[in-house]
Every structure is written in structure tokens, then in C-alpha cells.
Amino acid sequence: MIQLEQVSKSFCAGDKEIHAVIEVSLDIKAGEIFGIIGFSGAGKSTLVRCINLLERPTAGKVLIDGIDLMGLPEARLRKERRKIGMIFQHFNLLRSRTVYQNIAFPLRKSKLSKAEKHKKIISLLELVGLTDKMEAYPSQLSGGQKQRVAIARALANDPKVLLCDEATSALDPQTTKSILNLLKKVNNELGITIVIITHEMAVVKDICDRVSIMELGRVVEEGDTAEVFAHPKERLTKDFMDTASNINKIYELLEEKHELTQLKPGEKLVLLTYSGGNAGESVISHLAEKFHVQANIIFGNVDILKGKPIGKLVVILSGDSENLMKGMQYIRGRNVQMEVIRE
């Protein structure tokens, strides 16, 4: 649905050239929810603007549904843009217009009759659950309601793609949840391909099928969300994963020299990461049975990603050194990732 080929975007700031996006290639399939995550300044907002050419890439190709957008003249490009909805962090509603008029706004150029437009707007209001607010002005709405209006407005022209630029970043966690549920619904019921730009791992974890991790203008890692979450390859990806689970608490405890983290000689403090089933727990019981290695769980965390559990356990392993060695080899052989935090 969306193909970016070696897309780069640089800006001139004074006499310095800033490379916001560097040779990014993405292939986003029809009907999927694709996440692009990165810290601020990673270039993800610029990248999403390259998809509808709000920012024209300095190099590369942008194909939407097979159409090369960069080759189109202005008027055609505007027509194509109507098939790409977009929502923003700060909602960007028209203050002087009511909810109804805001949703009607993108329909100004549509060929639908007046009655058809009205029907369309009413059905969109129903979809986002704001039928009772249609005569309200944006200033009378909460942040979550404003984003719902923005979503309805973005869907007015029946787009094939919906771009979300930090759409939940200005919202509290509960409202974020409800907006994400709405996006899931949009994706499920209307089959719209969704691209989500965010710096919150929780958002990606909750709804993205696939994810790209961006840093300094480049995509450093990409893949199936559950896969990336379970087996992050890059340091940055790990950092993001940690923000979404409480497992990084262990580093705080280590810093504080908390008594839980005090090791006796020969003990090892390890982080086990496993996906699917109860692999982690069974490994721990086998360690005791077969290798006489005691695994003392300090804490653990299980996330459900797209129905698949991703478990993380911080444990202290103790036993005589030979058994410990064998036990650790056994762990590695069981599709459980092990990271020795301290020994």
C-alpha cells in the first residue's frame, strides 16, 4: 500500500544542512497497522510527512497504492492526498467551525450530493461516538473528543490510508487507550491501513502489527511487533522495550544497592526473556530438578502482544559453579534469551 524507497529529506538551516530522514525504505501492506517509533528528533514526523508529501523528499520514491506521488503535478497530488487521511498531536481542528462543520470541511471538494454528505457526516459521528456533540465548537471539547473529531474528519473522504502523527501524545493514558481502540475499530471495520508515529512503546505494543525503530533519521530495526519486542537487536530498541515494562526497575534497584540485588559469591543476576507459553516458568523448575540450580525470582513481567505473551524475569541463580554453567547452557538451548546483569 505504502512503499518508500530510499527516501531522504534534508533541510537547510542557515549554512548547515540537516539530514532529517536518511535513505529510509518501508513497505507497508494494505490493512496493517504500522508503527514508527523513535525519540523526539529521530525524524519520524518528517518521515510521515514524506508519505503525503507535506514534506517533499530530497531523494527517493514514494508510492501509494502503486502511484508515484513525487511525479504528479500539484492538482493531481492534491487529489491523491484526499485518499490519505491524517491526524495530529494537537488535533488541528478549525476553531470557528462546529464539530459537524469540521467533518464537512474535507467534503467541500467531494462530488457527493448535499444529502449524501449529510448522511456521511452523521455516520462518521456515530462511528466516533460524538453524535450528541455535533453542534459543539472544538473549544467545548476535551482532548480525546477533539481527536475523535479529527479522526472522523480524516475519514470523510474514504481514505485508504490514515497517518497518525503522535496522535495520542497529548492525551492521558486512559484517553489514549480509547483512541487506540477507535483506531483498531477503523482498521478492522473499514480496512484502512494505519501508520502510527509515536514515542510511546505502549502505543506500539497495543495496536501495531509491525514496527520500525528510528534513530537519527534512519530506521535501525524493523519487524513484527511481537518479534521485535521479544528479541530486540539494537540497544535503542531495548531501551524502548524497557520503557514499556517495569523490568528496568532492576537497574534502579542495582543503583540503590537494594538488598534484593545483593549477590553472594558465585550467584548470578540474570534477565530472562521468553515468548509464548510458560517457557520461563518451566525452565526455572527444570533448573532446580535437573541441575540443582536455585532460581530466585526477584520480579517478573508478562506482556500480551497481539495475543502472544512476552515474559521477562529477573532472577538470581545460585548453585555450584559446574551446575550453574550447565544450567545456563540449558537455558540458552531453550529459546529463552538470557542476559547476565551482574555476577
Partner: protein, 225 residues
């Protein structure tokens, strides 16, 4: 009427003249006001859309307009008026009278108004403009349906401010023969020392401003959400 003649005795003799001058003032305000509003709006919009990062960015033209406005605004109106007499002759055929004042009045108002429109339109959130572009709207639709529509309260406010200053310069224009209330006040109030006529002119001008201000406030209240 007799009550008015009691507090302003000279009114009885001069009311015909006063009405004529009032009509001239209205004529100047209306015609130069409408022209200045449209021209000022045009340049104000131009400033915003040609600015760096604007809809039809043109840094060279922007800088030219920007400087031109600064220079034009710094010329005192009474000097500008004399300076523009030949231009007025070329455009409207005369450099004096009510007709001869239009060019100077418009010229004196536009830079001030355009600058204020620029400020008002710049207040429209860039994100809203970006969202409209993402919806597939072109520059002209965005100018009319977003920039101008979203700014109606602000445009009304600066129009009121500009209007008061326009009343001020129509009075000055009276000094070089454009007629109007300014001319009336100078001839009878200043040269002939009819104090009551000064008060009458002041009262009329205050009335005009109050009515317009009231109207402006209603528009602002109705369009601010």
C-alpha cells in the same frame, strides 16, 4: 432641535454646512475605507503566504513588501498627502476635494492595515494549515476557508482600530481642502472661534466610532468560539 440650538447656538446658522461636511466625511470613510480594506487585506494575505514556510513562499517578494510597508508607514500623513497629489491627479483626475483625497487616504491606511492583517493571520495555527494541505486543499481555498474564515474576529478587531485611525486622517485631509468634519472644525472652530462647533464635531465623531465599535463587538462575539 431648540434644545440643541440652546447648547450650540451656531448650529442654527451652520447646520446646512455641517450636514454637507458630514456627508463628505461619510463619503471619504466609505469609499476609501472599502478600498483600503480590500487592498490591505490583499497585501496582508500576501505577506503571510509569501513568508518563509508560507503557502506560496516567495522570500524575495516578501522582503520587498515588508520593507515597502515599513517605509510607507513612517511617512507622516500630512506630508504623504502633498506628496501624492500628482499620483491622485493621474488616477482620479484631481488632487483636491473629496475625490482628490481617496488616493492619499487609501495609501495612508493600507500599510497600517496590511501589517495588522499579517499579525492576525499569523495567529492561525500552522497545524491547521498543514491539516488543510493534507486534506488536499490548494492555496486559494486555504486562504479563504481557513486563514480568513478562522480570523474573522481578529480581522474585525483590527478593522475597528484601523477605522478609528482612518477617521483621524480624513480630518487631516480636510486641512488641504478635502472638506469633511475636519475641515468644518478648522474653519468654524479654530479660525472663527466657535467653540460650540468643535464640541458638535467631537460629539458626531464619537457617535460614529461608538456605533461602529458596538457593531464590531457584536461580530467578534458572534464569531469567537
Amino acid at each position: 432641535m431648540s434644545f440643541l440650538y440652546k447648547i450650540a447656538p451656531n448650529l442654527e446658522l451652520l447646520q446646512g454646512e455641517l450636514l454637507k461636511c458630514l456627508r463628505q466625511t461619510f463619503q471619504m470613510l466609505l469609499i476609501s475605507g472599502i478600498i483600503a480594506f480590500l487592498v490591505g487585506l490583499f497585501f496582508g494575505v500576501l505577506l503571510v503566504v509569501m513568508k518563509k514556510g508560507g503557502l506560496i513562499q516567495n522570500v524575495f517578494l516578501y522582503k520587498f513588501l515588508d520593507k515597502a510597508i515599513d517605509i510607507l508607514r513612517s511617512i507622516p500623513f500630512i506630508i504623504l498627502m502633498v506628496l501624492l497629489i500628482p499620483v491622485s491627479r493621474a488616477i482620479v483626475g484631481t488632487g483636491s476635494g473629496v475625490t482628490g483625497s481617496y488616493v492619499a487616504l487609501v495609501w495612508g491606511t493600507v500599510p497600517f492595515f496590511a501589517r495588522q492583517i499579517e499579525t492576525v493571520l499569523s495567529d492561525v495555527d500552522h497545524g491547521v494549515i498543514e491539516a488543510s494541505e493534507a486534506m488536499g486543499f490548494g492555496p486559494s481555498e486555504i486562504i479563504f476557508s481557513v486563514y480568513l474564515k478562522e480570523s474573522i474576529p481578529g480581522i474585525t478587531r483590527v478593522t475597528m482600530i484601523t477605522f478609528v485611525s482612518l477617521i483621524g486622517i480624513t480630518a487631516i485631509a480636510g486641512a488641504i481642502g478635502a472638506g469633511g468634519l475636519g475641515d468644518f472644525a478648522i474653519r468654524y472652530g479654530y479660525q472663527m472661534h466657535y467653540r460650540d462647533m468643535i464640541w458638535v464635531t467631537v460629539a458626531i465623531i464619537l457617535l460614529i466610532i461608538t456605533i461602529l465599535q458596538g457593531l464590531g463587538n457584536i461580530i467578534i462575539r458572534k464569531t469567537t468560539h
